[in-house]
């Protein structure tokens, strides 16, 4: 009978917490930067000239139809041969931003397309500039519509970020790998890590629900 031994795992728990902290920071930074990429690409895809639309479409399709693991290998091992050498943590951030950007673009585009044309025309008729129309008439209600998809995409991003441990970034999964090779209590280590990820996704879901309550208090229609 196997005897579980969690003592070494909890002895180095601060290491795991440090890893979890980097996972949180990495995911949040990737989401913020990825959101900017998404909004720009979504704008380009709905309003840009056909060449830009083609490039953005190619970017989305390539990212969404290849595994994140291959993307991160490509960025971490492939880009240095083009002269772009990144540290594991920056490569991880870049890969996550590029990945989230593709999914985020599609989500935000769906939100933009849910805005009725009359709204935009009304905004233009009121003399708002193109940017103002985009900011107040399109983006604000669009973001509200797609908020649930965006938050679940963020949870997915955070879970996916565990893959960056393969290029030895210092995230939670990598802290687990280190601890595993030091203690040989593989199963115990990964059980604890998995529960920590579960706690993170439950915690973030709760935070997003609270933000939704505060930020989207105004009624949908009069």
């Amino acid at each position: 009978m196997y005897e579980f031994n969690f003592a070494p795992v909890f002895a180095s728990f601060d290491q795991l917490l440090l890893g979890a902290w980097l996972t949180i920071r990495l995911s949040c930074a990737a989401m913020l930067l990825g959101l900017i990429v998404s909004i720009i690409c979504a704008w380009g895809k709905t309003a840009g000239p056909s060449l830009i639309r083609f490039v953005i479409n190619a970017y989305i399709e390539i990212i969404r139809n290849t595994p994140f693991l291959v993307q991160i290998f490509f960025i971490f091992f492939g880009l240095p041969s083009l002269g772009l050498r990144l540290s594991p943590n920056s490569a991880a951030l870049l890969a996550l931003v590029v990945n989230f950007g593709a999914y985020g673009t599609e989500i935000i585009r769906a939100g933009i397309e849910s805005i009725q044309k009359g709204q935009v025309e009304a905004g233009t008729a009121l003399g708002l500039s193109k940017l103002q129309v985009f900011r107040y008439i399109i983006m604000k209600p669009a973001l509200r519509t797609v908020y649930p998809s965006l938050t679940s995409q963020f949870i997915y991003l955070m879970l996916t970020s565990s893959v960056v441990s393969v290029i030895s970034a210092d995230d939670l999964a990598a802290a687990g790998n280190d601890l595993q090779s030091a203690t040989f209590a593989s199963f115990e280590v990964y059980i604890v890590i998995t529960l920590m990820y579960l706690a993170l996704s439950i915690g973030f879901s709760a935070i997003f629900a609270a933000i939704e309550k505060m930020a989207f208090k105004y009624p949908l229609s009069r």
Partner: protein, 218 residues
């Protein structure tokens, strides 16, 4: 010794795609069976069954696939089984697919109007026949597009099996890269192969979704 990335290396990587396809197919088949059970448990009238299915889905959707693979991989040792990447990857991906397909299909079953079920009950159909002939065929029509969409996600997910040492497309790429040291070419090739596998499925899913939404709009 570093050898150049030539035609042979390219072919070795292409051949490795068969293991990606095999692993995806097995996990999809297993996940299909598991997913159906989970979906039925999720909409069942028995509360404990509903809660158990919900817990299963929450755990598998709330933790990284990589950790699920590690847990099965190292957990097999605890249950006295030899560590085998093939079996570990198959079990982990099957459980993962069961949870996701279960949640997708639950939505599809619930989308079937409840009057259909009530009418079937009124006609005297018992649970099995009601599900088999009335509810599931209608749910299946709604389910096709999102299921194909998930298949893409599953194929991409099989790449993580490389990390526990299962030699499929990504792992073969790593091995070739270690011998040739031309990561740009190697991982470019690997990415193109995944793209060739996934893109047609993505297009198919989108087309079916469009067709379906047009059909239901009328």
């Amino acid at each position: 010794m570093i050898r150049p990335f030539g035609w042979n290396e390219f072919l070795i990587i292409v051949m490795a795609a068969q293991w990606t396809i095999a692993l995806s197919a097995i996990a999809f088949a297993g996940g299909g069976i598991g997913g159906l059970l989970i979906a039925l448990a999720r909409v069942s009238d028995v509360r404990p069954l509903r809660l158990a299915a919900l817990g299963f889905i929450r755990v598998f959707q709330g933790t990284p696939l990589l950790m699920q693979l590690f847990l099965v991989f190292f957990g097999m040792n605890i249950f006295g089984l030899a560590i085998n990447p093939w079996i570990a990857a198959t079990i982990a991906l099957t459980l993962h697919a069961s949870a996701f397909l279960g949640e997708i299909w639950r939505g599809c079953i619930e989308a079937v109007p409840s009057g259909q079920r009530e009418a079937a009950t009124a006609l005297g159909l018992k649970y099995y026949n009601r599900m088999r002939y009335i509810v599931l065929p209608q749910a299946a029509r709604i389910a096709v597009a999102p299921t194909v969409g998930f298949l893409v996600q599953l194929i991409k997910g099989t790449s993580l099996a490389a990390i526990i040492g299962f030699t499929e497309l990504t792992r073969q790429g790593q091995i070739i890269n270690n011998a040739t040291f031309s990561p740009f070419m190697v991982f470019g090739t690997v990415a193109v192969l995944y793209f060739i596998l996934c893109w047609p499925l993505s297009l198919l899913a989108r087309r079916m979704e469009l067709k379906f939404s047009r059909a239901t709009q009328r």
